[in-house]
Amino acid sequence: MSGLVYTRYEMLRTFRNRRFWFFSLGFPLIFFWLIASPQHNKIIKGTGLTYAAYYMVSLASFGTMMSMISTGARIAGERQVGWTRQLRISPLSVRAYFRAKVLTGYTMAVLSLILLYISGALLGVHLPAKHWLAMTGLIVVGLLPFAALGVLLGHLVNTDAVGPMMGGLVSILAFLSGTWFPITSGFLHSFGQFLPSWWLVQARNVALNGQGWDARGWITVAAWTAILAAGAAWAYRRDTGKV
């Protein structure tokens, strides 16, 4: 199957990209160790979670979100040098093209996740195997809207703007979704629940009591996935239609 070779090289390219190493892997890992290590076993008030567990999932959300939407940077880069046109005169189907992009994003996200899990375990996060799996499952599903967002940005934004835009967007989403400190009440709490990133961060509750998302979480993630996927399809058609 032709898409496989393409996906392999796409991953190879991403691995060689220094920005990926910094934003998706380095940055979350460094912050995790800086924030969590001094007081890793202490419980954060109002959450019932230790610093290590809380920030392990928080920063994994940050790193995986970054991994997923950096697909946008790769697409924007390929558009700029005219490579998308070169691919359009090859047998690679549009479906296989996006499959490769999203699969690459997920591979990078899982790598980021594993590194943070290992760091978390080293700082005393001990969970039953089924809870690790459940948490991973929620994060993988919670990343779906970001897979679509990456494709959307890649076809909408040019190369110069895509980097700052991704950085800004992920930082704001991380802030509003309780990555850096718990948001347990007030406006931010009610507002945050409408964001897909909120539920990504909420995957940490599995570590507390084995509980995943409630219905609201699933609906929010599904709605964002649908909206952003429609947006991505629109942006792709708009982009390639004008040739």
Partner: protein, 316 residues
Amino acid sequence: MASEGSPQTDGGIRLQGLTKTFSSPQGPIHAVRGIDLSIAAGETAALLGPNGAGKSTTIDMMLGLAKPDGGTVSVFGRPPREAVNAGLVGAMLQTGQLIRDLSVRELVAMMAGLYPDPMDVNEALELTGLKKIAGQRTQKLSGGQTQRVRFAVAIVCNPDLLILDEPTVAMDVEGRREFWTIMREFASRGKTVLFATHYLEEADANADRAILMAHGRIVADGPTTEIKARVGRRTLRATLASVDPAMLAELPGVVSADRHGDAVILSCSDSDQTIRALLELYPQAKDIEIVGAGLEAAFLELTGEPDVDEPAVTVP
């Protein structure tokens, strides 16, 4: 060239009644205004024309990158998209660079991996003279090297039809020479090649046939030697009073003669012969000037008056 109606023609490229119009703030741009063209399998043809002639738009439609407003394209009897999916077509588009973070070999291998029956990657690298820099990262190549990698990408699918849209634009003289040597080598494997260029010399040296485009139409089509004779004219100007232009038109190598006051203007197919004869018969001729027509001028001559279909520019 294959004769009309031979089975070979069906195996080639056929454009019929092709049109394409783009909208712009200044009104519609008629990029292609009705093209009928057949290229036989195994032929090497040059698509020649100035900027804005419609060459790239025509190529985009042949590749399935643009949808014609009218008319049809058939590549070896199939619609463009099908021919592309079958790996029958390779192309070097006019603009484009390479994606970064891969070596030359990896990039070529990645593209080979997309096709059903590609050329061996080593063979493609060998043929394009990229063996020595196969391990280099694509972002570290010179302009000429980049073009050669793009050429390798175009041929690694081992296409029956190779389309090159102004492939030597970013190259120096040496780079051009090497590039065309490689292209001819590839074409000699029985491939059908169509390349677009501004340069008459490139068409002359590398194609059997030249197709001239201007204002979205084909204005001349024939063996390169013939086309060269038609557009390769020179203009001879001289001050020469009281000689009938009709007499001057009789001089060897003169296609047409014209007079503006004391100045005569001779359009020459062989200006060398003309000048010798002129000076012998009319030694009083002075201020003699011979200029090559240049493609733009030649096109204007071939297309006649400025195009009537061109929307008149009016200032509101």
